[in-house]
Symmetry: C3
Subunit: 250 residues, 3 copies
């Protein structure tokens, strides 16, 4: 399976052109669009989110990952074999989190270049052909590099901040939920936020946090919009994690 993960946005011809290249070069391989609104221009948040989204894709899947504000400049194109999947994208930190998490990860700098390479759409012109070739089991001219040399190799494994705001205003953080006991109270945007298991058990209009379907800590408001109520967005930092008994506005 070929999978796209980009910040191209939902509109415009970009995802469609990328898919055309994938389908034509790897006929018969299914193409799934995982996300076209990955954190834009933000390889660190986008890489942290990507790591949490991989599980539903079977081993052997090839993910084309493009959050690439430096497209057309000196950053290298790479592909990474980690967790049994292959990730293709720019060496700007986007693939650091999926690599760091697997001690057996292999990192490859892509040496192949297409005959026609636009300055602004390497997703279509370079990453998609490489992904299609790898999905078919074909070799791509590359050289191994040590994972430690990857851009972002020294970034923290967890991001104690908001890394994605969804369409309903839910605030996805870069904190693995299994690291946060359910009796914990989060401080975010001046609020103290207690845990609830599901939306249906939370109080309408009051923020709560829960382990979301990606395994991350997420803050939401039943029948409301957490981003609006808490007045926080991308990059907002969790100021503290305390213990139960202090829910509500601080």
């Amino acid at each position: 399976m070929l999978v796209t993960y980009t910040d191209f946005g939902l509109t415009g011809p970009y995802t469609g052109q990328l898919e055309a290249v994938l389908r034509q070069l790897a006929p018969g391989v299914p193409v799934v669009h995982l996300q076209a609104d990955a954190p834009a221009f933000n390889p660190r948040a986008a890489g942290c989110l990507l790591k949490s989204l991989v599980t539903p894709f079977a081993p052997g899947s090839v993910l084309v990952c493009v959050v690439d504000p430096g497209v057309g400049t000196a950053r290298d194109p790479i592909w990474v074999h980690a967790h049994g999947r292959i990730f293709v994208g720019p060496d700007n930190g986007l693939l650091a989190a999926v690599t760091r998490d697997d001690p057996d990860a292999q990192v490859h700098r892509i040496l192949w270049r297409p005959p026609q390479l636009s300055n602004s759409f390497h997703g279509r012109d370079l990453f998609a052909p490489v992904a299609a070739a790898l999905a078919k089991g074909e070799a791509v001219a590359s050289e191994c590099v040590t994972p430690e040399r990857l851009c972002g190799a020294d970034w923290p494994a967890e991001l104690s901040e908001v890394i994605y705001v969804d369409v309903y205003g839910n605030l996805v953080t870069g904190l693995p939920a299994q690291a946060v006991p359910s009796e914990s109270v989060l401080n975010l945007g001046g609020w103290s936020i207690a845990h609830r298991r599901v939306f249906g058990e939370a109080v309408p209009g009051e923020p709560f946090w829960y382990a979301n379907s990606m395994g991350l800590v997420e803050v939401a408001v039943p029948q409301g919009n957490a981003a609006d109520l808490l007045k926080v967005g991308m990059g907002a930092v969790i100021e503290g994690i305390g213990s139960e008994g202090r829910g509500g506005a601080a």
Copy 2:
């Protein structure tokens, strides 16, 4: 064919993860995304709209239907065989309209549970695997229930209100167009609205109603936005249906 009908919104990784599960469990079966902006948190409107959208999908299609504000609470997962198609989703009224419409409909409570079930994403973890199995003709542990016990079984067959507002501000109602003679004048938002066959025959800037491509009564404004002009939205009730000769603002 597998079909998704959800209120997941267009952004985020939700539809992509659901599609990944479908494609991996039912390889070779096409997956079509019918709609990701079904009326959110509103099983009654979403179910009424769904009923009007089924015809283009050939008999044998399996539709994964997820408008599920109570996810993670006590409502049952069900699948319904109606109109030659299979519908999989929560028993919260979403599937009541497609069931009510077919006297031979069969309703099944799903007993199967996946090894891993998140609290907030039963679309990916439960409904998608069930739909994939049914699309392959495999059995799913279930028990029959009588259609009368379905949540929403007693809801009205027609909704004389706005059940969907499209991207251009057109107001889709839950009224079957064949039940409304074309000489009728609708009262909505203080306007008296006459029938026109097509946009090209209506007056720019003036609201009209027509039988839309789903077979429902829809109110639109040529080169304008009906939701803005009439100042009405989801749930706005049609106050009356009269006879011709009273078009324009009331």
Copy 3:
């Protein structure tokens, strides 16, 4: 490959219903959604943009093109064979640009009509079945017309104006980049705009123009929004093209 290019918008059931028809009538043929936000109600801009998007689709591809404000009125449905691809859509100028560009283009008026034809959704009811048949190599009842009789045949080949505004506020023009020397300065919205090769070489906050991945002149602002900064949108005309040395606000 079957390709959709429409102004249906991203929401609603329209693209999904169209895809269902394509997949059911042409099983096994991949379907790619190129764009659902083609310039709305604007066949001239949409046709100019379409011409620049065709290259990544292999010869033999069949594109269903629907920007059709006159749906349900007298305009003819047509299909065009040009550049080795087939384009199906309304004769309202949308297919004029792809036709004009190929001296061997063949234009066909579609005589076939479906048993059920809605007044407002010819994409699903007429264009999709025709495209599916052509993708399978089947004949469709049609008659040849000379390209000169096509609506829009006399429109200019280049549009010196904004024909698309993307999600980041980038301004795509209808000017082929190869016709504009890189030392040129564009006048747009009162600004004099110089060329930069890529985003990474431009100054954050300052507009620049570049040859985009479609081969068109595009105006953008690194880490900013060109549409907002220049206060221009769809249809804004490039007031002049001069020579270097006059960048910045005019």
